[in-house]
Symmetry: C2
């Protein structure tokens, strides 16, 4: 994952693109919103506009470098596409995100789509719940 990936996407290798890609690679959280990315860049004294962050993330998504997930609450999170597809478990209290892949679910989805005459383009499966952290439990 380097500047060549940016070039291969048909995009110029510019400072904002390099910095955003670096940040996605080195961030402790894999799932970040555009706002997150913007603020992290500000913290690193990078003068990159929010509009550019959105533009670049959208371009990276189109290029297959990044995946976008629409979370509850009307905002999206982005993550570096490390090859494998996966779905998400999100803690509704602390926001912790875990990933999983389940062959059975993936297979059933393909079968269901077929039964309904749909040709799958994409899917989104997000399980919301309380994570293992005691602080995130009710009562």
């Amino acid at each position: 994952m380097d500047n060549q990936d940016i070039r291969k996407a048909g995009l110029k290798v510019t400072l904002p693109r390099v910095k955003i890609l670096e940040l996605l690679e080195n961030s402790t959280q894999r799932h970040v919103s555009a706002e997150n990315v913007y603020k992290m860049l500000i913290d690193r004294d990078e003068e990159i506009g929010l509009a550019t962050v959105y533009r670049v993330l959208t371009q990276f998504e189109a290029a297959g470098l990044v995946t976008r997930q629409n979370f509850e609450g009307g905002y999206a999170v982005f993550e570096l596409d490390r090859g494998g597809h996966h779905d998400h478990l999100v803690c509704v209290v602390c926001g912790k995100v875990e990933e999983f892949v389940d062959a059975t679910i993936e297979k059933r989805q393909r079968e269901i789509a077929k039964e309904h005459g749909f040709e799958i383009v994409d899917h989104s499966l997000i399980i919301y719940g309380h994570c293992g952290n005691p602080k995130c439990h009710v009562g």
Copy 2:
């Protein structure tokens, strides 16, 4: 599904609430956005503000009368809760929505949550694709 349901939710039986509930029951499309509801009411010469539509739909959701789905594109659709949980298939071309329930998927989700130490609160599974309509196919 009538005025008693509104009362049972601890809400006063007001004209906007009655009209919105009626509309959700009689609409040809089960899955409607707040904007949809607002416009349909305007078409029926009901003078109900958009803010009220949002408020009422949110209250109906809290009362369990209505379910909210966050679709791709950053907007939500609402539908009357007819008891059974179900997931969605959405055509990315014409917007057609079909519903399904799959016991295998539901079961695997519970198992996966357990494996990760999560206590499920909710989940959202949306399969995006091209529906059977020839007009919605590529090439």
